[in-house]
């Protein structure tokens, strides 16, 4: 970059080289690391006399002895030095961290930070590189105010991303923002190598996102992949790391002794007898003879340390008419679940830009991603939670009986299911081959030089998903076996095309700066899929895992699916500023979609900005270097809600008539008739640079309303639900990001930042209904007007009845109550109807699964060749439904967490928090209550990295390439009170969440 600027400067500054010399001053302008900066402009203050530094950063200037020299360079702070008769003046320029001249990508174009009227946060590749992950979005956790990243531990899976809360009813796969990779739309970016990304811009408010119209309601994430550069020397680089993932915060389950105590206190003779059976079968513990001599920690058994590695090679550069960037990457990650659970990805990438003529540029960009994922058997997490600790992994008594391995069977103790998670882990193979090809070609015509451009771009994203799920037979017991080897395969092809045509006009009239853009876009999204299955193939060899080899091909395993949707859009943008002081921004998009009965939607936005620091009363202010107030309003659409049938549909079904399978049809009575959701957002904010640009401030306040929100409305009487556009959901909040960057004379460089967001989710209207039920009947979530979407809904636990006297004294206690049962709050006061009984009117809102406060922070220190960075992340105000504890309402046949076992009520004064062991099994204590709903707040040390940079090293007289060696601990420490091992639960309902491992890596980067 520096060289590029040097060339630009040469042309611009030569004209200034004329003056009346008195003395000659020479010197070197350097960066903090001592390297010379070429192209720095040196002006004699108050004159047009000046020069620029040469390739090594040296300069010579003749000037008056009492003059002042002004050193300035893009991206660096300007420095003024009085000459004061010195002949040598060496200057060190400090890199300016927060440059308002910086250019950021906006939809279908770019803008300078100082011209923005909307809320956009850009994260650069250097920041992404610190997080060892295969998923670029994971690296954004805690870095962008208002962006919630819910991580997942499962290799190859994408984190859940929410921009400014949830505007759409969850569960429709529609919460995700729109990802635009070099102009192409994606639903996720799991195929990208984070190291190939130059920048990620999160367009947070409607005004920024509105140019993407109907796809933008949940925010837009713009991704620019790395490019070469014109006139750029070839740079060959290697980046890589290798590391280990270790499960964190593993939930402590009741051990054999605690479990035995719980079983004995359960009041269930059957459960007590299972303990006896275990003692008979496996012996008695020598420590406590009333406990079986088995103490299995199932989580420990199914977890393993796992590898992670990443290697990238990039070559980039260019001459005066061509620029290129070519790279390849290999990423591999094992899962911490002890089964064939891994993800491997190989990417190839080419980006070329070619100036064919003065007025015609053409370019192409292709990314090929070939990944293979062996998916986890998620059920194993659940099984490990419930598997009783008095069951060993292997049972010697089953040797020669159980095939192929003598895994222990809880049914042999009397439990209903086999419980042992190992058959699930060992006899399942879930392979998914993900192949993506993104191709993107453009041609750009300069119609009027530097004023009017026309660009036409064709994008094609081709995805092939090839899935094979194999289940192998085993025998552990009559009711714990799989007789048939089964194979199910499916293949899905997605072919998405976008054709964009953009006309851009830029001009300046006096103090008026105008950029206008008009464009059209055509989208074609096609999907086709086939699936089939077979039973009983020669499963011993993987080479024979084909449906063709199967003896049996069940009818029900065959399926065919497809969809095709078209979209057509017209859009335009005007951005105008007067004297860099008053900003006006407006866009309009008309979107047509074949998805709904309503075809066209229109999405306008307008933004205003006032750069106060350009006003005379603030210009040149000592503290305030830059200050801009901005406000915007815009409307967006959301067509990611599922396509509606719009009419009754009929589906075929099979029925057995006299032992023959025949087909009939069933006609659904309920259907959705949907239109797109409309999101309207108002954003007001400020951008500031303070204290000699040491500090940057960005603050935003927003109100976002989703109208016609598509909400699942329960179909009365029959369960199930149907989507209807029946609500208005409001997300409002305040976001702030503060950053400080400083450099001390001794070369120590320091930066620190915090960002946080307050967020409130509220349903404003349900079109006449007081509430809409969600969740399940047993674990109710209810959406009330004036409250958050899908709030947990149930009873409030006041405590646990300690003795009969307390029960007798409580008018609301049921006749069946015994000490050790929950005492619920009677929400009615004495004299009010409903007082004196716990009934459905005593249910209240118990909290929301959306955090109300998200925060992140970072700290960086660099000194000489060392860098140290650290970041943290956290959230507050959200609740998690501990559905694992809730599972007892379906079956009491499992283990419980240690906290529950230890802190259960077992006599007066022992607990006011948890019921007795017997009480846990009673319907009274199984009511949906805040016992199941826990605080989901967490704080995490997100990332710590220590790096050593080797620059300009000579070895045996030869220059060595620059290198960087780093040690990273990613997510090494998480603090939370929730009784699970992972407080990051996207839906707020924790049944089986893949734990988030800590990752420790060693990294190496080399640049030739």
């Amino acid at each position: 970059m520096k060289r590029l600027f040097f060339l630009l400067m040469l042309t611009g500054v030569f004209s200034l080289l004329s003056a009346q010399p008195r003395i000659t001053v020479t010197g070197k302008v350097t960066e903090s690391d001592g390297q010379g900066i070429p192209g720095v402009s040196i002006l004699v203050k108050g004159t047009l006399v000046g020069t620029i530094t040469d390739l090594d950063g040296n300069y010579t200037i003749e000037t008056e002895p009492q003059s002042t020299l002004v050193f300035s360079f893009v991206g660096f702070s300007t420095v003024e030095m009085p000459v004061a008769n010195q002949a040598v003046i060496n200057v060190r320029l400090r890199e300016q961290a927060f440059d308002v001249e910086e250019v950021v990508v906006v939809g279908y174009g770019t803008q300078k930070v100082k011209d923005l009227t909307s809320s956009i946060t850009t994260v650069k590749s250097e920041e992404l590189a610190r997080t060892p992950t295969g998923q670029a979005m994971q690296a954004l956790q805690g870095k962008v105010a208002g962006l919630q990243v819910v991580s997942t531990g499962s290799p190859g899976n994408s984190p859940t991303i929410r921009v400014r809360g949830i505007g759409s009813y969850p569960g429709q796969n529609n919460e995700a923002p729109l990802y635009v990779v070099d102009g192409m739309f994606f639903g996720n970016i799991d195929f990208l190598n984070p190291a190939d990304i130059a920048s990620i811009s999160v367009l947070k408010d409607a005004s920024a996102a509105a140019i993407y119209g109907v796809r933008a309601a949940n925010g837009v994430v713009l991704i620019e992949t790395k490019s070469g550069g014109y006139n750029k020397k070839t740079e060959i680089s290697y980046d890589g790391y290798y590391g280990l993932q270790v499960a964190q915060n593993v939930l402590k389950m009741a051990n054999a002794e605690q479990f035995t105590t719980m079983a004995m206190e359960s009041g269930s003779a059957a459960d007590a007898s299972f303990i006896l059976n275990a003692m008979q079968r496996y012996g008695r513990s020598r420590v406590n003879p009333n406990v079986p001599d088995v103490n299995t920690d199932w989580y420990k058994e199914i977890l393993r340390p796992a590898d992670i590695q990443n290697h990238s090679i990039n070559v980039e550069g260019g001459n005066q008419s061509a620029s290129y960037s070519i790279g390849t990457n290999y990423f591999a990650q094992e899962g911490i679940l002890d089964m064939k659970n891994e993800y491997e990805r190989f990417n190839l990438r080419t980006k070329l830009d070619f100036k064919a003529t003065e007025w015609f540029t053409i370019g192409g960009n292709m990314i090929l991603s070939n990944a293979i994922k062996y998916g986890e058997e998620a059920g194993a997490w659940n099984e490990a939670y419930f598997a009783v600790p008095i069951l060993p992994v292997y049972d010697p008594a089953l040797e020669g009986i159980a095939e192929p391995v003598n895994y222990a069977n809880a049914q042999d103790l009397g439990y209903r299911s086999g419980q042992n998670p190992f058959p699930t882990l060992r006899y399942s193979d879930n392979r998914l081959k993900i192949r993506k090809l993104m191709a993107n070609f453009y041609a750009k015509f300069q119609l009027i030089p530097d004023k009017l451009d026309f660009k036409t771009t064709y994008n094609h994203a081709f995805t092939s998903l090839d899935e094979r799920n194999v289940r192998l037979p085993y025998f552990i017991g009559n009711s714990f076996q799989r007789v048939d080897a089964s194979i199910n395969k499916s293949s899905g092809i997605f072919s998405d095309q976008i054709w964009d045509n953009i006309l851009t006009y830029t001009d300046r009239f006096d103090l008026h700066n105008v950029t206008a853009m008009a464009g059209t876009s055509f989208r074609d999204e096609a999907y086709s899929g086939l699936r089939a299955g077979g039973l009983n193939f020669p499963y011993q060899r993987e080479e024979s895992w084909y449906i063709d080899q199967s003896q049996e091909k069940p009818e029900g395993s065959v399926g065919d699916g497809g969809s095709r949707q078209y979209g057509l859009s017209y859009f335009g943008r005007l951005s105008y500023n007067y004297n860099d002081r008053y900003l006006l921004y407006a866009t309009m998009r008309a979107d047509g979609s074949s998805k709904y009965q309503q075809k066209w939607g229109y999405f306008p936005t307008v933004g205003l900005g006032w750069v106060i620091s350009e006003e005379s009363f603030l210009k040149g202010h000592r503290i305030i270097n830059f200050l801009k107030l901005r406000a915007s309003w815009g409307q967006l659409g959301n067509d990611k809600i599922q396509a509606s049938d719009g009419a009754i549909t009929t589906t075929p079904v099979n029925v057995a008539i006299d032992d023959v399978m025949v087909s009939g049809t069933q006609t659904t009575n309920t259907f959705s008739s949907l239109k797109w959701e409309l999101t309207e957002e108002t954003n007001a904010g400020l951008t500031g640079r303070l204290f000699d640009n040491h500090m940057s401030v960005d603050a935003d306040f927003f109100i976002r309303d989703t109208k016609n929100a598509a909400i699942y409305v329960k179909i009365p009487g029959i369960g199930g639900s149907v989507l209807k556009n029946v609500g208005v959901i409001r997300n409002s909040g305040f976001e702030m990001a503060l950053n400080w960057d400083d450099e001390f004379a001794n070369g120590l460089r320091f930066n620190a930042g915090v960002n946080f967001s307050f967020l409130k989710n509220k349903v404003r209207d349900l079109y006449g209904q007081p509430y809409i039920d969600g969740g399940s009947a047993e674990f109710r979530q209810r959406t009330y007007v004036g409250h958050p979407l899908l709030a947990f809904y149930g009873y409030e636990v006041l405590g646990v009845y300690q003795n009969q006297a307390e029960i007798n004294a409580d008018p609301s206690a049921p006749a069946s109550a015994v000490p050790g049962d929950f005492k619920y709050r009677d929400q009615q006061k004495e004299g009010e109807p409903g007082y004196g009984v716990i009934n459905d009117d005593d249910r209240v809102i118990l909290g929301s699964y959306f955090p109300s406060f998200l925060y992140g922070g970072n700290l960086g220190l660099s000194w000489k060749n060392f860098d140290l960075t650290a970041s943290l992340v956290g959230q507050m105000g959200n609740k998690i439904l501990n559905r694992k504890r809730g599972e007892i309402i379906w079956t009491a046949d499992g283990n419980l967490d240690a906290d529950l076992a230890v802190n259960r009520w077992h006599g007066e004064g022992t607990s006011n928090k948890y019921p007795s062991s017997a009480g846990l099994r009673k319907g009274w204590n199984q009511k949906m209550s805040d016992y199941f709903v826990e605080d989901g707040a967490f704080f995490r040390l997100q990332n710590v990295q220590l790096a050593y940079n080797i620059k300009g090293l000579q070895l045996f007289g030869a220059g060595m390439p620059d290198a960087r060696v780093s040690l990273t601990a990613d997510r090494p420490l998480t603090l939370f009170s929730y009784n699970g091992f992972n407080p990051e639960v996207a839906s707020g309902i924790d049944t089986q969440t893949y734990p988030i491992p800590a990752v420790y890596t060693v990294g190496l980067s080399i640049k030739f």
Binding site: Q411, G414, N478, S479, T649, D659, T665, Q666
Partner: protein
């Protein structure tokens, strides 16, 4: 500057602008891979049977929890499965929990089926417009009506006042009023009167098109059941009399195997849910989840045959009642004994010595080992391991589920007659003795109503809660107060599931009263 405006550039630019609007028509393309009912060609009347078969699929595809909740109350059977599903056990003891998931699930399943039934009737009616044989469409609709009657019958028996559905749109529940049990039973009876003349007067197994499907006699049986609840004994006698007089039905000689594979579509059955492994050891199968009933940890004669969850335990009261009557075949068919269970019976000095045939090994050679959750398992829901198709291991795989059989018809007939109704079809004595004779019991003369009820107890235990609803109807709460339970009239109906109360205004209103 002018040199930049070349013809080439303008042409390229204009071409892009002109091509673009050509895409507009694509927005009107309909969704792919959907069959819109509106596009169904109802003139292809050969397809008229499809919605009917779809309804049979729905009727047969019963969720496993429906039968247990409908039938667990009563002195013939206990919850079993002890230590688990405490609210199921509490329901068996007449302590009800409106928040219990099973209760909500049963409600939703049967109401879901009801709306599907209306939908199927509408679809058939649309074909009827074009059908040459309009009578066939009437017959199909009548068949669906009988299935609909079945759902309403059990909904009202379980919850009392319910909503009678009148069309396929569930949103009617939001405005509908409740009907009393009397109104529902009268509605069923009237519906059956409409259906009866339209249905074929054949045995279900004689139907050529849908073997095992609904016939005139199924409708008559539902009519009899509804009127029995209404204590309209004349109507019961008339309807059962028609079935008896038809001569289409006979009691199976092999009572044990009636509930097993050989009993599929037996001459005794008026209605059964059909399931099948389609004669194959693997692959496609449509089955009821019989695991619920199976004993845990058994030793099947055929190794590898799966056991069950240990729910649904025949009561000691029932077993002793049967022993008192010197019952053999019916007791053997109804109850699977464990050694622990046998010991429990013997604890009562009166039964210290049991007949030699009582053993924990069935006549088919399956050994029922002790398991902690229950003392006995239900024999009528048991399929011997040697009747499984080789390769299948699911408990009761390939077994049908009998809903109404001729023995019940005979005994309803006798019950009506002993309550003063008249019939020329058969006397009460004859009806009861037919059933007794098959059970290997001597005939009785001048049968009383009490004897009929005992016979029903012996014959129909563990079948669809028949015993419980009989005792409730007759107000015989003493019979239901057994093994420490006390039955009172307020226990007749389950409370409406909370989830339904939250959704359906009529229920909310009823609860608040």
């Amino acid at each position: 500057m002018k040199r930049y405006f070349s013809i080439t550039k303008l042409t390229l630019f204009m071409a892009a602008l002109l091509l673009f609007p050509a895409c507009h028509d694509l927005l009107d393309e309909p969704a792919e891979n959907r069959t819109f009912t509106g596009e169904t060609d109802y003139t292809i009347t050969d397809n008229m049977g499809l919605p009917l078969l779809g309804m049979y699929a729905d009727f047969y595809n019963s969720e496993w929890e429906v039968f247990p909740l409908i039938s667990v109350r009563g002195d013939d059977v206990n919850a079993g499965g002890l230590g688990d599903q405490q609210d199921f056990a509490e329901t068996d003891k007449y302590n009800y929990n409106k928040d219990y998931w099973m209760s909500n699930s049963v409600w939703q399943n049967y109401y879901g089926d009801l709306f599907n039934a209306h939908s199927a009737m509408e679809q058939i009616a649309k074909y009827q417009e074009f059908a040459a044989n309009k009578g066939l469409a009437d017959q199909y609709i009548a068949e669906v009506k009988v299935m609909r009657a079945w759902y309403l019958y059990y909904l009202t028996l379980t919850w009392g006042d319910i909503i009678i559905t009148n069309g396929p749109d569930p949103s009617q529940l939001l405005v509908a009023k409740l009907s009393t049990q009397e109104e529902v039973m009268k509605h069923i009876s009237a519906q059956m009167d409409e259906a009866i003349p339209l249905l074929p007067a054949v045995h279900p197994a004689e139907r050529a098109d849908i073997r095992g499907g609904i016939t005139k006699f199924t409708a008559l049986a539902m009519k009899a059941r509804a009127n029995l609840t209404l204590k309209n004994y004349a109507a019961v006698a008339e309807a059962t009399g028609q079935i008896i007089s038809s001569g289409k039905f006979v009691l199976a000689t092999d009572f044990y195997n009636l509930f097993k594979i050989p009993g599929k579509l037996n001459k005794e059955n008026l209605l059964e849910l059909q399931y099948s492994d389609f004669g194959k050891g693997s692959g496609d199968a449509i089955n009821y989840l019989n695991d619920f009933f199976g004993p845990q940890g058994w030793t099947p004669k055929v190794t590898g045959a799966g056991g069950g969850w240990g729910f649904y335990e025949p009561s000691l009261k029932y077993i002793k009642f049967m022993l008192d009557r010197n019952e053999t075949i019916r007791l053997e068919t109804s109850v699977l004994f464990t050694n622990r269970g046998i010991a429990e019976i013997k604890k009562d000095a009166k039964y210290a010595t049991l007949p030699a045939w009582i053993s924990n090994t069935t006549r088919s050679g399956d050994r029922i080992n002790d398991y902690a959750r229950a003392l006995f398992a239900s024999g009528k829901h048991y399929l011997p391991s040697d009747q499984l198709i080789l390769g299948r291991t699911g408990y009761g795989s390939n077994k049908n589920f009998i809903c109404i059989r001729y023995a019940e018809i005979l005994l309803m007939h006798a019950e009506a007659l002993t309550n003063g109704a008249n019939s020329s079809a058969m006397t009460a004595d004859a009806a009861v003795n037919l059933v007794r004779s098959r059970a290997g019991l001597p005939p009785i003369n001048g049968v009383t109503n009490a004897q009929v009820m005992d016979e029903k107890f012996a014959e129909l235990a563990m079948e669809w809660g028949i015993r419980f609803y009989d005792m409730v109807r007759l107000g015989n709460y003493a019979a239901l107060s057994y093994d420490g339970r006390t039955f009172t009239p307020d226990k007749i109906f389950l409370p409406y599931p909370q989830n339904q109360v939250d959704q359906i205004p009529a229920l909310k209103e009823a609860v608040n009263k």
